[in-house]
């Protein structure tokens, strides 16, 4: 691990081969794995546009922000690309309580040679900055905007980072990369879905070179993901069931967009539902337990209508069943 700082990408890999995307692009990659490289999930499906945006981040050193609704697999998307490139990766979950000290580093008391000494310990930002690491700020819009100014300088491509506590200037490693994921585009919680999302400073949003939008996948792709996660459904009957499940999910998304319901099914919910089907052996019961009970009581009838359209069966919540 000592030589992490001296590592650099040493091979070129074909995008077509790695991600199954129709492109002649070659991307730099590490030939050797290390502890910081995430594990490869063979079932993962790459969205072509977002993959190319993230790859631009890796190859051309661009700052990429991935924005999308919850459960679309934003962070996983970056991680899986890093995994296939063998690129070391650090994921930091931001929340309203992360402070400047957590990110930059702080003085801590350590025992050295039996004596207590105060020593500066680097935070995650200076540590990553000096290594060929892809740093992912997860839930970027949950961080307090005033604290996030810490990273203002390093959002520039060759931005140096001054450690005020030590009068030291850190030059970023040429293979340091920075990514972020967010539910909103920094305008705050407009839809009512993301309590706690902050209104971000647009001087900072402006510094992200690429903003990729990861929306929900097409019905076929989503069904394929569900099937790869729940392999036991990979039968003719299972395919039909999963297709119906995905179309319920799509109706809830459209219903949400129209303002009829205030919850929607993410791909993650569909996977959970499929898994719960395995446990309860009854799609309707599994649906109730995985999603319906999360809905407001008044909205369940509407969701029951969606369910009827896709399954041709009534839920107990349905109204007017004479």
């Amino acid at each position: 691990m000592t030589d992490l700082a001296s590592m650099k990408p040493d091979t070129l890999r074909s995008v077509r081969e790695l991600f199954g995307i129709d492109s002649d692009l070659q991307v730099p990659a590490f030939s050797q794995q290390n502890d910081y490289v995430p594990e490869v999930d063979e079932a993962y499906r790459f969205n072509p546009d977002v993959t190319l945006a993230i790859l631009a981040g890796f190859t051309r050193n661009r700052r990429v922000m991935v924005q999308g609704l919850h459960g679309t697999g934003k962070s996983t998307h970056i991680e899986q690309i890093a995994a296939r490139l063998n690129w070391p990766c650090m994921r930091v979950n931001l929340d309203g309580h992360i402070s400047r000290l957590d990110l930059v580093g702080k003085d801590a008391i350590v025992v050295r040679n039996g004596v207590q000494v105060t020593e500066f310990q680097e935070g995650i930002v200076p540590w990553s900055l000096q290594r060929p690491v892809a740093l992912i700020f997860d839930e970027y819009d949950a961080g307090r905007p005033d604290v996030m100014f810490v990273i203002q300088r390093i959002l520039e491509r060759d931005g140096h980072f001054s450690l005020l506590d030590q009068n030291r200037v850190i030059h970023p490693h040429p293979y340091f990369r920075l990514f972020s994921t967010a539910n909103t585009v920094g305008l705050g919680n407009m839809s009512g879905l993301y309590q706690g999302a902050q209104v971000l400073n647009h001087a900072q949003i402006d510094r992200w070179n690429i903003v990729a939008k990861l929306d929900y996948l097409s019905a076929e792709e989503e069904a394929a993901i569900v099937l790869s996660r729940v392999p036991s459904k990979d039968t003719a009957q299972g395919h039909e069931l999963v297709a119906a499940m995905v179309s319920v999910a799509n109706l809830t998304r459209k219903g949400f967009a129209a303002g009829d319901i205030s919850t929607l099914m993410s791909p993650r919910t569909v996977i959970t539902w499929a898994e719960n089907c395995e446990i309860f052996r009854d799609p309707a019961l599994a649906f109730r337990l995985s999603f319906l009970n999360k809905c407001d009581a008044t909205e369940r009838q509407t969701v029951a209508e969606y369910y009827q359209r896709c399954f041709g069966q009534e839920l107990d919540e349905a109204r007017f069943m004479e």
């Binding site: 009512g192 019905a219 297709a243 119906a244 995905v246 179309s247 109706l251 809830t252 459209k254 219903g255 967009a257 129209a258 303002g259 009829d260 319901i261 205030s262 008044t298 009838q301 509407t302 209508e305 969606y306 369910y307 009827q308 359209r309 896709c310 399954f311 041709g312 069966q313 109204r319 007017f320 069943m321 004479e322």
Partner: protein, 578 residues
């Protein structure tokens, strides 16, 4: 108004809400809603002319409403309305057939992943067929012809067998049509995925039906008149099918009646008022003796106590939808946060004390104003006690939740036109005089007086002789202008009414829908401006022909928490969607 009718109105509203939600989700268009049993996109009516989906949402079984909703969604998704309109034949019969065929075409386009929708549509078609057949409409030759065409096209388009029960019945007609329609039918099936290529074939079928019927008619006119008398009923039903631009104003059901006003449409100045000299705006409690007001208040209090309404709960619900958290000062004595310098001395004296910090404080602030505008027309007199109780509870809850509220009413000073009418008579009855009565706008409770201070004033609503006639449009305008003058950010107007605007003198001297259309204009204008959320609360009546967001309530029975839940939901929906 019997409670049965009211329940029907309530059911209709729920059915429409569910159907509209389904259509919105299926078609992905968010501006669809029902108004007076008709689907609207924004301000435009989306008619459903295909005979098997012409249902009445108030009485039809829910499964049929569902199928109609599905049919509508498919129509929106897979049919180009403009193209359809352009290629539509003009003659009524041909048009009916053309509409039917286009609807049957889109119904073959159900996406594979929506099997429930396929089932809904299929069941509806066979149910409609049976109803049509059993109501005796197939006994007339024209009815049978349309029926056969519908069955043949449906069976061909879906590659399914025709309905078994009527297979023998249509056999001969089917056989006679087979040669002339064969080509067109094959075309229908072949081009069902392509509207442009489908149209000529549909037009051909429509033309064929039209010509056949015409030739029969000519033959009939010459010979047997008795036969025509026989199927008079069937003829009438058939005429109903052809009636395309019917407005949903069927009197049997509790829907507000509406139509088009000629006087208003033709008038160059739009809505006019004959004279405003006698109009007034009064504080309602000034019209009632003090002692009587006290008595009314007592009656109201007893009434409310009997209803068992949970006002604190209502207040919490209202606060949840109306209030938004805002940073408001600091909260001291916390166990974490920023260090409060003033407490450091305390730390020195008692080191175990941990509450040394302070934090941002968030408080829910309901920056909103709700105006209740009550229709004080004669018919509302019987409901006045319920309405007063409802208003009182809402106002009290809003007070607790931190919102502002205003209680207004509208009526007239006199019956049958009063002084303006006499003046108009003296002037020699000039035509189209406009609104012809003295309106009276009542202020029961002002926004800046709390519930506690205006308790007695609210009770003035129980005074029966305030209730006369109603000019809704002007009253809504008046309430809106009062709301707009307020600085609260969110403005909500709830109109409580039991009917369309009514003023005998105005209706007689202009026409029946003069005030009615003015109300619509006012509401459409306010909706466009979008500063105020207007909600209609129908007392035993569906107000959806007027109000885009409305609720039919049943006030003949005791008020209950359920009713308030629904009102809260109505407000919440409006906010959610805006």
């Amino acid at each position: 108004m019997s409670s049965n009718v009211q329940q029907q109105a309530r059911r209709q509203q729920q059915v429409e809400a569910l159907c509209a939600a389904a259509i919105r989700a299926l078609s992905g268009r968010s501006d669809l809603h029902f108004r007076g049993k008709q689907l609207y996109q924004g301000e435009h009516r989306l008619p459903m002319y295909a005979p098997h989906h012409r249902i009445d949402t108030a009485v039809a079984p829910f499964a049929d409403c569902r199928a109609a909703a599905d049919g509508m969604a498919l129509r929106l998704l897979y049919s180009d309305a403009e193209l359809h309109r352009k290629s539509c034949p003009e003659k009524p019969v041909a048009r009916l057939v053309f509409e039917l065929l286009e609807q049957l075409r889109v119904e073959t386009q159900v996406p594979a992943h929506l099997p429930g929708m396929t089932a809904n549509l299929e069941q509806r078609f066979s149910r409609w067929s049976l109803e049509f057949h059993r109501s005796g409409q197939t006994e007339s030759s024209s009815g049978l012809l349309i029926y056969t065409i519908a069955q043949m096209s449906w069976s061909r388009l879906n590659a399914r067998q025709v309905l078994e029960e009527t297979e023998d019945l249509i056999e001969s007609t089917r056989f006679s049509l087979a040669s002339s329609m064969g080509l067109a039918l094959a075309g229908l099936r072949h081009h069902r995925h392509d509207q442009v290529a489908f149209i000529p074939h549909a037009q051909a079928v429509a033309k064929l039906v039209d010509e056949t019927l015409e030739s029969w008619q000519e033959g009939e006119d010459g010979s047997n008149h008795e036969r025509q008398d026989d199927d008079d009923d069937a003829q009438q039903n058939f005429a109903l099918l052809l009636d395309f631009d019917q407005e949903g104003d069927d009197e049997r059901f509790a829907s507000a009646r509406s139509g088009t006003s000629k006087a208003l449409g033709e008038s160059r100045q739009g809505y006019t008022v004959y004279t405003t000299a006698y109009d007034r705006e009064v504080v309602a409690s000034d019209l009632v003796r003090k002692a009587q007001l006290e008595e009314f208040r007592q009656r109201l209090d007893t009434g409310i106590a009997e209803q068992g309404i949970n006002v604190p709960r209502l207040a919490r619900q209202l606060a949840a939808i109306l209030a938004t958290p805002q940073y408001d000062g600091w909260q001291y004595g916390e166990e974490e946060g920023r260090i409060d310098g003033r407490r450091l001395a305390q730390l020195v004296s008692s080191p175990t004390e941990r509450r040394l910090f302070y934090q941002d404080r968030q408080r829910p602030v309901a920056d909103c104003m709700v105006t209740l505008l009550v229709d004080c027309s004669g018919s509302m007199r019987h409901q006045s006690e319920s309405v007063a109780m409802l208003a009182d509870c809402l106002i009290r809850a809003l007070d607790i939740a931190g919102g502002r509220s205003e209680l207004l009413g509208f009526t007239t000073n006199a019956w049958n036109g009063g002084k303006p009418y006499q003046e108009w008579m003296r002037q020699g009855r000039p035509p189209a005089p406009g609104r012809l009565n003295e309106v009276c706008h009542l202020v029961f409770k002002e926004a800046d007086r709390g519930w506690r201070r205006s308790r007695r004033d609210i009770a003035a609503m129980l005074k029966g002789n305030l209730f006369r006639e109603g000019v809704d449009g002007e009253a809504v305008d008046w309430a809106c202008s009062r709301l707009l003058a307020r600085e609260e950010q969110r403005k909500i107007l709830i109109v409580i009414s039991d009917g369309s605007p009514s003023d005998t003198a105005t209706n007689l001297t202009n026409d029946a829908y003069y005030l009615d259309n003015h109300l619509k204009t006012v509401l459409a204008r306010q909706e466009r401006q979008g500063e105020i959320d207007i909600l209609g609360l129908g007392v035993g009546l569906d107000l959806s022909p007027f109000y885009r967001h409305s609720l039919a309530t049943d006030m003949s029975q005791a008020l209950d928490n359920h009713l308030f839940d629904e009102i809260v939901q109505l407000i919440a929906q409006r906010i959610h969607r805006s």
